[in-house]
Amino acid sequence: MAAIERRIRYESELDPSFAREIIAFSGSPSLMGCIQCGTCSSACPLSLYMDYTPRRIIAMVREGFKQEVLRSRTIWLCASCYACTVECPKQIRITDVMYALKRYAIREGVHPPRFPIPVLARLFYNTVRRRGRLTESWTVLRLYLQTMPLRIPGMSSLGWKLLRRGRLPLRPEGIRDRQGLQRVLRVVERQEVTA
């Protein structure tokens, strides 16, 4: 029999500073003015796949349900289409709130393991930092190897078609002034640590 868990949180288990942190992280103070109308959830093309709809995520951030929010799939399912941000009657930048939550979850390392979306973000970040540009072919191959190796045979015919049409060049792209770029990014990183 599955373990029976308490489904209701005690107030003492919530994190009252979470909302403040997310406001600072996302630059959207209007978060506190949410009227829970649900326009964001109805505008969102992905909400039917989410464990919590965007409206609920905003409510949970405000109340301090830190662990539930950071472990949710919702924040990773946001495709950054900005439909919610454009529709919100209280001008809450919901897409930026989702970005802030993604960064927080990655920083705390609480996202589901081998979940492809944060893995892709990490691959992308490392490649661009090192080379200044992304090479789609290698990034996708590495993503599949790390997260969905069993799907590679099913995608090989598409890969072959793209290769034949010159749409999957294998030569790694990169900028000339990689050192200059890395210096710039390192300075930003140092300033963030001291801030």
Binding site: A79, A83, Y99, L158, G166, R167, E192
Partner: protein, 302 residues
């Protein structure tokens, strides 16, 4: 007016035909595009998910390069970003730097370390905006050699060129591409899903979810009688075109639907050679459709 051009990573890979057709069309219109030298990746949605300030620095390096390489017109260098993700990220970084003095200082100090300087004198443009508002529909009409008569088109704007920064078209019901398509002799179909999301990179990471979004777009375009879909973004084009086999396995009511870049369509109407427009790179070819249409047209005229 002279324009600098920021291709972005996809236009050197899966979206090569977008670069080829864009350059061919601008060349034929007599407007030279110069590629921004040593541009770096815009960071897209992924970099922003890891580190926002570094993502802004990536974008700002490109803006600084544009300032140093371009010649300003009306006080700003015109920088064309054809990919919707690049367009949005560059705009977002520019607006955040203009609004937040502390952030702007931080990025300025970092850029200096790489030998760059950004003063906020770049105007980021999408090629659809440039073609409709700078070049003008009447000038484009003058270059049409083979009007695309009888062709019904679903114009797909996707998310990020009109949301959240609606700088050149309406966010809910954009129409610039529809107007452009009409000038080319084709007929835009009424298609309310024109700004619905294709899933972006989600279609690669959680395929079943992305495929359903694309299925809805394709099915509605088909129901509205479109012969093909025209897009402005390499990721939208890829998602809508490349997974049609997989989508059809789950939803068999879908017929193959060609998905072209809007610049390929303009080039076709201008009578440019198909190879210059990268039409041979399409996974769902368009030549059979064009041949059928021209035969129909010949019948109608006879």
């Amino acid at each position: 007016m002279s324009y600098l051009y920021f291709p972005g990573c996809s236009l050197k890979g899966t979206g090569r035909a977008y670069e080829e057709s864009l350059l061919a069309v601008f060349r034929a219109l007599g407007i030279p595009l110069t590629e921004l030298a040593d541009w770096n990746c815009c960071g897209a949605t992924a970099y922003m998910s890891i580190d926002e300030h570094q993502a802004f620095a990536l974008a700002a390096r490109n803006l600084a390069l544009a300032e140093s390489q371009g010649s300003p017109a009306d006080g700003a260098v015109q920088l064309i970003a054809p990919c919707s993700a690049c367009y949005l990220v560059l705009l977002k970084a520019q607006q955040c730097l203009a609004a937040d003095i502390a952030l702007c200082q931080e990025i300025t100090i970092a850029l200096k370390e790489g030998g760059h300087c950004y003063r906020g004198r770049v105007r980021i443009r999408h090629p659809l905006d440039v073609l409709v508002h700078d070049v003008g529909l009447s000038e484009i009409a003058r270059h049409v050699r083979q009007p695309l008569r009888g062709l019904k088109i679903a114009c797909y704007y996707g998310c990020q060129i009109v949301r959240p920064f609606a700088l050149f078209d309406r966010p809910h019901d954009p129409s610039t591409m529809d107007d452009l398509v009409r000038i080319l002799g084709a007929e835009p179909v009424s298609w309310p899903l024109k700004t619905h999301c294709c899933g972006g990179s989600l279609t690669g990471t959680i395929p079943e979810v992305g495929w359903r979004l694309n299925y809805l777009l394709l099915r509605e375009a088909q129901r509205r009688g479109a012969h093909l879909i025209v897009t402005v973004c390499p990721l939208c084009q890829f998602n809508l075109e490349a997974y049609q086999d997989q989508i059809r396995q789950r939803y068999p009511d879908l017929a193959p639907m060609p998905v072209l870049y809007f610049t390929q369509l303009i080039g076709m109407a201008m009578g440019l050679p198909p190879r210059e427009l990268g039409l041979q790179r399409l996974l769902i070819p368009v030549d059979g459709l064009m041949a059928a249409l021209s035969k129909e047209g010949a019948h109608a005229r006879a």
